[in-house]
C-alpha cells in the first residue's frame, strides 16, 4: 500500500468528521427539525431540534471512531462486507435451484393452511398479481431488451375492457351469459391489450434506449388521461363499479345455490378469496409456462438476439418489426389478463389505479429480480410488494428502508438478484452465461 499512513486522531480525521456532521445537519435539519402541525389557524411549523442534534453528534463521533479504529490502512473496510461477483453467483445458482420448488409448494399450499387469516390470502393475491405483471413485462424488458415505462397502460386496457364488456355489453346483448362474464372477457381483454401493444409498438419501432423509455412513459400517461377524461365511455374519475365477480365456471360464491351448495360444502366468505387466489396463481403459472416455452422457440431466441445486437439480427433475415411487435403484443397480453383479474377482484376500477408509479413498481421488480430471470422476478415481487405491505407498521420509515434495500441490492448485485442467463439449447452441457456477457438491450 503506497498511501500515506493515516493518523487515528489527526487533523484529517477531525476534518472528515466535521464535514460528515455538516452534511448531516443540512440533510436532517429540514426533515427532522421542522414539522408541520394542524392548528386552529391552519398549518403551523413546530420546531424540534433535539433529534437533529443527536443525529449530528452520532455522525460526528461515529465518523471519528470509524476513522480511528476501522479505516486505518490495514484495518477492516466496509466494502469488504459486499460479497464479490463469482462466489455469490455460484451460491445464488444453488439457492435458486432449491428455492424454486419451495416457493411453488408454498404458493400452492398457502390458502390450505387451516385458520389462516384472510389478510394473508389478500396479500398473496396482491403479490401474485405483481409476479404475473413482472413476468409479463419481463418478455418486453428482460428478453427483448425494450425499456418500457408504460406497462401499466396494458394493465389498464385489460381492466377497462373487462369492466366495460362485463357491465355494458353482456347485460345488454347477451344477458344469459352474465355468470360467465369473466371467462368470456378474460381472453378478449388479453387480445385487446395485445392489440394496444401493437399500436404502441408501431411508432416506437425506430426508437431505442432513453427515447423509447420516454415514449412508452407518455403512452402510459395518455391511456390514463384518456380514461380520466372520456367521461361518457369510461365514467371518468368515478371509474366503473359493480363489476361482476369471477365465478367458478358459472357457479357463484353466494350463500344459496352457489359454489358451496353445489359441492355440498358449508358456505364461507373466504371461499371466494381462496378461489381468487388460485385463479391468479394459475394465470401467473400460465404466464411463466408460456415465457419459458417461448424462450426455447425461435421467437424467444430472436427476442434475445435482438437485445444482443439488432444489426446482426437484420443480417440474418430476422425482421425487427415482427420481433419487436410480437414482444410488445405478448407482454401486453399478459398485462391485460392481469388487468382483467384486478377488475374482477376489486369490483371497482378508476384511472387512479393505473398511475405511473405502478409502471415504475413493475419495472423495479423486473430490474431487481434480474432481467430475464423468472425466479428472480418472483422473489423481487415477493420482497417488494409483500414486504412493503407486511411492514406497514413502519409507516413513514418504510420508504426509507425500501430505498436503502434497493441501493444495497444494486451495489451487491448490479444486474439483479438472479443475473445469469440460462442457455436455451445446448450441445453437451447446459451452462449459464454470467451477467457481464449479456447485453442489457438498448432497443
Amino acid at each position: 500500500m503506497s498511501s500515506p499512513a493515516r493518523q487515528p486522531f489527526g487533523l484529517a480525521a477531525l476534518k472528515d468528521a466535521a464535514i460528515a456532521a455538516l452534511i448531516t445537519l443540512g440533510l436532517f435539519a429540514p426533515v427532522m427539525g421542522l414539522r408541520t402541525a394542524q392548528d386552529n389557524s391552519g398549518l403551523t411549523i413546530v420546531e424540534n431540534w433535539w433529534p437533529v442534534l443527536v443525529a449530528v453528534a452520532v455522525v460526528f463521533f461515529g465518523r471519528l471512531i470509524l476513522n480511528a479504529f476501522f479505516w486505518s490502512d490495514n484495518g477492516f473496510k466496509v466494502t469488504d462486507l459486499i460479497p464479490r461477483g463469482e462466489a455469490t453467483a455460484k451460491v445464488g445458482e444453488t439457492l435458486a435451484k432449491l428455492l424454486a420448488p419451495v416457493l411453488i409448494i408454498v404458493a400452492i399450499g398457502l390458502p390450505l393452511i387451516p385458520g389462516l387469516d384472510r389478510y394473508y390470502i389478500d396479500l398473496g393475491i396482491l403479490v401474485l398479481t405483481y409476479v404475473m405483471l413482472g413476468w409479463g413485462l419481463n418478455i418486453v424488458v428482460g428478453l427483448a431488451g425494450l425499456l418500457d415505462l408504460g406497462y401499466v397502460a396494458f394493465y389498464a386496457v385489460g381492466a377497462y375492457s373487462f369492466a366495460l364488456i362485463a357491465t355494458v355489453v353482456i347485460p345488454n346483448y347477451a344477458p344469459g351469459l352474465e355468470l360467465w362474464a369473466f371467462w368470456i372477457c378474460l381472453p378478449l381483454a388479453g387480445l385487446l391489450a395485445a392489440f394496444w401493444g401493437i399500436i404502441l409498438g408501431f411508432p416506437v419501432l425506430r426508437l431505442r434506449g432513453d427515447y423509447l423509455a420516454i415514449v412508452t412513459l407518455a403512452f402510459g400517461e395518455i391511456i390514463r388521461i384518456v380514461l380520466l377524461n372520456w367521461y361518457e365511455f369510461t365514467g371518468g374519475p368515478n371509474g366503473i363499479n359493480r363489476i361482476p365477480d369471477a365465478t367458478f365456471f358459472g357457479l357463484e360464491f353466494k350463500r344459496n345455490n352457489g359454489f358451496a351448495d353445489f359441492f355440498g360444502l358449508d358456505y364461507s366468505s373466504t371461499q371466494k378469496f381462496i378461489f381468487l387466489y388460485y385463479l391468479i396463481l394459475v394465470l401467473a403459472f400460465l404466464t411463466n409456462f408460456a415465457t419459458i416455452r417461448l424462450r426455447r422457440l425461435p421467437i424467444g431466441r430472436a427476442w434475445e438476439a435482438m437485445r444482443e445486437d439488432e444489426i446482426a439480427c437484420r443480417s440474418l433475415g430476422l425482421s425487427i418489426v415482427k420481433t419487436k411487435l410480437t414482444a410488445f403484443a405478448l407482454g401486453a397480453m399478459f398485462g391485460g389478463f392481469a388487468g382483467s383479474f384486478f377488475a374482477t377482484k376489486q369490483g371497482f376500477i378508476s384511472p387512479e389505479s393505473f398511475s405511473f408509479i405502478e409502471s415504475a413498481n413493475i419495472l423495479a421488480i423486473v430490474v431487481l429480480g434480474g432481467m430475464g430471470s423468472q425466479l428472480g422476478i418472483a422473489i423481487a415481487a415477493l420482497v417488494m410488494v409483500g414486504g412493503f405491505e407486511y411492514f406497514r407498521e413502519f409507516e413513514q420509515y418504510r420508504m426509507l428502508v425500501f430505498g436503502l434495500a434497493m441501493v444495497l441490492i444494486m451495489i451487491w448485485r448490479p444486474r439483479g438478484l438472479i443475473s445469469s442467463r440460462t442457455a436455451t439449447v445446448f450441445l453437451k452441457e447446459k451452462k449459464t452465461v454470467s451477467a457481464d456477457m449479456v447485453a442489457e438491450g438498448r432497443g
Binding site: A302, A305, R314, G317, S319, L427, S434, M437
Partner: protein, 304 residues
C-alpha cells in the same frame, strides 16, 4: 468498362452510386461476381468498400443503380430488364430466381435472396452461447417448423425434429471451425480469432448463395489468417457458395481470390485476376503513390 456478363454470373452491380449529402461514397460502380468464385473488393481506406457491401446487403438504399442477384442458373438474367421495369422485388421461375437487391429490405436480402454477411467489427450475440448464435441464424426455417410459435408452444413433435436438424447443422459447422468443445460457452468469451470464424459459420447457417465478408482477416495473426483461407476455400469447394470479400490482407486476397475489383475514392480503378491487378500501374499508384515525374502520366491515364 461495362460489366461483362459471363455465362455463370451470380451478381451484377450496375452504376451503383451512393451519396451521403454532398459526399459521393460510391460513384457509378459496375462489376460482376461469378458463381462459385471468390471475388475480392479492395482499395485504400475510405474507398467506399463497406458502403458497397451495405448497399448489396440492404443496409443502405443506394442513391442510384441496380444490384441483381440470380439463384439457379445465370439464365435468370434474361429477365433482368423486364424485372427492372416492373415494380416487383424479385421474379421466380422454377428453380431460377432473380432478385433486385436494391429494392429489398435488409432482412429480406438475407431471408429471401440468401445473401449473408459478416461485419468489420464482429457482431455476435455475445450473451448467447456459440450454439445459440448458430440457431438464431436458422430462424426462418425454424420459425416455419414451429408453426409460427403455435405448434412449438404446444410442444408438437414436428418442431422438435426440425430443431434437432438445426442443431446437427450447427454441429457440422462447429466441427469445421473447431469450436465443438466450446459450443455451450458464451460467444463473447471466445478469443478474437474464434469469434471471426464463428461469425462466418453463423452466416453460413443461413444457407447463403452469396456470402459477403467484410475484412474477415482483420486482426488475425498469420496462422489464423491461414486457417481462414482454408475455411473460405472449403466453403467454396464443398458448398458452392460464391464469396464476395473486402480485405486488406493481401496474402488472403492474392492467394484465394479468383477475381479482384479495386476501388479508389468510390470509383473502380481496376478489375481482373489477382495477377493483373497486382501489376496494374493505377492500383500501384493508388496504394503506394507515384514518383513526382510520373504524376502527369498517371493523371492522364486515370482521367482516360
Amino acid at each position: 468498362m461495362s460489366p461483362s456478363m459471363s455465362s455463370d454470373t451470380i451478381l451484377t452491380v450496375d452504376n451503383l452510386t451512393m451519396r451521403f449529402g454532398g459526399l459521393t461514397a460510391v460513384d457509378s460502380l459496375s462489376f460482376t461476381a461469378t458463381r462459385g468464385e471468390i471475388t475480392a473488393l479492395i482499395g485504400p481506406n475510405g474507398a467506399g468498400k463497406t458502403t458497397v457491401f451495405n448497399c448489396i446487403t440492404g443496409f443502405y438504399k443506394p442513391t442510384e443503380g441496380r444490384i441483381a442477384l440470380a439463384h439457379g442458373s445465370a439464365a435468370a438474367f434474361d429477365r433482368l430488364e423486364d424485372l427492372t421495369d416492373s415494380p416487383e422485388q424479385f421474379s421466380r421461375n422454377g428453380s431460377d430466381a432473380l432478385f433486385l437487391l436494391e429494392r429489398m429490405q435488409d432482412h429480406d436480402v438475407s431471408g429471401k435472396a440468401h445473401v449473408a454477411r459478416t461485419f468489420q467489427n464482429i457482431r455476435l450475440f455475445g450473451g448467447m452461447t456459440v450454439l445459440e448464435n448458430l440457431m438464431v441464424a436458422q430462424h426462418l426455417p425454424l420459425m416455419k417448423a414451429s408453426g409460427y410459435s403455435i405448434f412449438g408452444l404446444l410442444g408438437l413433435p414436428g418442431y422438435r425434429k426440425a430443431e434437432n436438424e438445426a442443431i446437427d447443422k450447427a454441429r457440422y459447422w462447429l466441427e469445421h471451425i473447431n469450436l465443438v468443445d466450446r459450443a455451450d460457452e458464451p460467444a463473447a468469451g471466445l478469443p478474437y480469432g474464434d469469434q471471426r470464424r464463428l461469425e462466418i459459420a453463423r452466416a453460413m447457417c443461413s444457407d447463403p448463395v452469396l456470402l459477403c465478408l467484410d475484412e474477415p482477416a482483420a486482426g488475425l495473426n498469420a496462422r489464423e489468417s491461414h486457417d481462414l483461407n482454408d475455411i473460405l476455400t472449403f466453403i467454396r469447394r464443398e458448398h458452392g457458395t460464391s464469396l464476395l470479400l473486402i480485405e486488406h490482407d493481401m496474402s488472403v486476397v492474392m492467394e484465394i481470390s479468383d477475381h479482384v475489383v479495386v476501388l479508389d475514392y468510390g470509383k473502380k480503378i481496376s478489375d481482373g485476376t489477382p495477377d493483373y491487378v497486382r501489376n496494374d500501374p493505377k492500383v500501384i499508384a493508388a496504394y503506394l503513390g507515384v514518383d513526382d515525374e510520373e504524376i502527369d502520366d498517371v493523371e492522364a491515364e486515370v482521367s482516360k
